[in-house]
């Protein structure tokens, strides 16, 4: 059955043993600890909700000079939303805001079945493991929750 593809090793590993499921240090801690001289250092926090599944995540990112230095999350939800969030954090750490926005757009397009070119999708790295969610309409929201939340968060930041 096609659905089983989605619960592959990559997803199960990220779900059971997420690397980024914790709280980031406070911004002030960061300032002193990591980058004491940078005024642009800040922690952005945004909550994402998927009422149909009850998925709920709180996403935190630390942006320094337009680069995502760190990312973490908390919350609860299904394996797909949890793993997808952890995979996303892996992918975006070290990327610029614009790069990260592009990646979230690409991921969302992949899940909606609008982008299928394997070459282009390569950029998504491990997140490609979630490709088959595009055939599970009921789970699309689970997979894109974190990506959607990050996308909005970064666009809001740019507008400021």
């Amino acid at each position: 059955m096609a659905l089983n593809n989605i619960y592959n090793d990559i997803l199960m590993e990220h779900n059971m043993h997420p690397d980024h499921k914790h709280k980031l240090l406070q911004a002030s801690d960061h300032k002193t600890a990591i980058n004491p001289k940078c005024e642009a250092d800040e922690i952005l926090v945004k909550k994402g909700l998927n009422p149909s599944c009850g998925d709920e995540i709180v996403l935190e990112i630390n942006v320094v000079n337009d680069i995502i230095k760190d990312a973490a999350f908390n919350g609860q939800g299904c394996a797909i939303s949890q793993a997808s969030t952890d995979i996303m954090a892996d992918l975006i750490i070290g990327k610029s805001i614009d790069e990260a926005i592009k990646l979230t757009d690409l991921f969302i397009d992949m899940i909606r079945g609008e982008e299928t070119d394997p070459k282009k999708l390569e950029e998504l790295d491990e997140a490609m493991a979630l490709k088959d969610v595009s055939h599970m309409p009921a789970r699309v929201k689970c997979a894109v929750l974190a990506w959607h939340t990050l996308n909005e968060m970064l666009k809001e930041k740019k507008q400021k």
Partner: protein, 404 residues
């Protein structure tokens, strides 16, 4: 494949499918599918006011179905049967029109925390419109509203009690023969949501003595798009119409209209004759199987599913420990695995169950679980289906557990 599954084309096509989402919608037997197709092949026309043969045939099909439904549920008169689109529309109709008739500011409406959203939100809206209060009844551990709880919540402001007969999550059945007389003794009008009851047991609205009874065709082997509202004539007569237009009128002028007699007053626009024919065929189907057989099989399978699941230490089952009293509905959770993952993975093992809030969010919070899995059984299921379910539960658990 057991002989009952053989009546269902979708089962014949999927011989390894364990379809355990019957509380959401049942599959349809040949008899029902063919009855609807034949209606469109032989006697389709706009019913009522029909002055030619086809239209009379359509009218007969429609009104004979109504009579059959009335008899099936023990209604005193065919005109107490109103066709709707589904149970939700029936419940919206009552919540709107009965509230218009009865509710004054500060009046109280009683419902239970076990209600499906369709028997909850319409009352929230009605309460808001009429500045009335919506008061909740809470069940005991077996999912039962006790007479004490009901008496406790009744006040001299209580006008309406709207209650589900069988919970679509707990599978528990309310003792209506005890509760309804108490409500009536306080002049409270009683509406029963029978969507989960009528597929599983014989209903007799006269002996229940409820004032309204709602259900959907699609949960009892009929097509989608047809539902029923039974109401006592005296209330239906007094209530204002809900949907308006089409043939539900007597006399219309520019600013006002007077409304047709029952049941037409509540049937606006062209009705779903094909759906009514399908529902009548579904009743024939149920009667050909017999409620005795249905109850026997469903009780046995509910018991089996509950017992087997409860042997697994990582499983929580909601509702009564007496699984024979679950009317086919077994709601459960696998420790630390989200119900949506369970349902998706079950699908890989060709087991169809539902995971989520089951349109009963307040009940889910009351149960402190927010989400759960639900296997729901019909008489055409068999022990092999339950075995498949249990195997899948074990497999999913080990799959998650086995991951380093």
């Amino acid at each position: 494949m057991n002989r009952y599954k053989n009546y269902f084309p979708i089962m014949r096509r999927n011989s390894t499918l364990a379809y355990l989402d019957n509380a959401a919608t049942t599959q349809k037997p040949d008899m029902v599918i063919d009855a609807v197709a034949d209606y469109y092949r032989r006697e389709n026309a706009n019913p009522l006011r029909g002055l030619y043969e086809l239209s009379q045939k359509a009218t007969d099909a429609y009104e004979n179905a109504r009579k059959k439904i009335a008899e099936f549920i023990g209604a005193a008169k065919a005109q107490e049967i109103i066709y709707t689109r589904n149970a939700s529309e029936s419940l919206n109709l009552i919540a709107f029109s009965l509230s218009e008739l009865l509710l004054q500011p500060d009046d109280e409406i009683l419902i239970s925390i076990m209600e499906h959203h369709s028997n909850m939100i319409p009352w929230q809206q009605a309460a808001k419109r009429h500045k009335a209060k919506l008061i909740y009844l809470y069940p005991n551990e077996d999912g039962i509203i006790t007479t004490a709880e009901l008496k406790n919540k009744i006040s001299d402001k209580t006008k309406i009690l709207s209650l589900t007969q069988i919970s679509n999550v707990l599978g528990s059945e309310q003792n209506l023969k005890e509760l309804i007389p108490i409500a009536h003794a306080h002049n409270i009008v009683v509406s029963i949501d029978g969507a989960q009851a009528i597929p599983h047991e014989k209903i007799d609205v006269s002996s229940l003595d409820c004032d309204f009874y709602s259900f959907s065709g699609h949960k009892m082997y009929a097509p989608m798009g047809i539902g029923i509202l039974y109401g006592k004539e005296k209330y239906l007569e007094a209530m204002p119409p809900f949907l308006t237009g089409g043939e539900m009128i007597d006399y219309v002028d520019e600013q006002t209209a007077t409304f047709a007699e029952l049941p037409y007053k509540f049937e606006a626009g062209t009705q779903n004759v094909g759906g009514a024919v399908g529902l009548a065929a579904a009743i024939d189907f149920i009667e050909s199987i017999g409620y005795n057989k249905i109850i026997e099989r469903e009780t046995e399978l509910s018991h089996l599913a509950g017992e087997e699941l409860s042997k697994l230490p990582y499983i929580t089952i909601y509702g009564s420990n007496n699984f024979s009293a679950h009317h086919g509905v077994i709601a459960f959770n696998i420790e630390n695995i989200h119900p949506h993952d369970v349902a998706s993975l079950m699908d890989s093992g060709n087991v169809a169950i539902r995971g989520g809030h089951h349109c009963a969010q307040p009940l889910m919070r009351f149960l402190k679980c927010n989400f759960c899995c639900r296997a729901s059984i019909a008489f055409y299921n068999d022990k092999a289906d339950i075995k498949q379910l249990i195997e899948q539960v074990k497999y999913i658990r080990s799959y998650f557990h086995g991951v380093k």
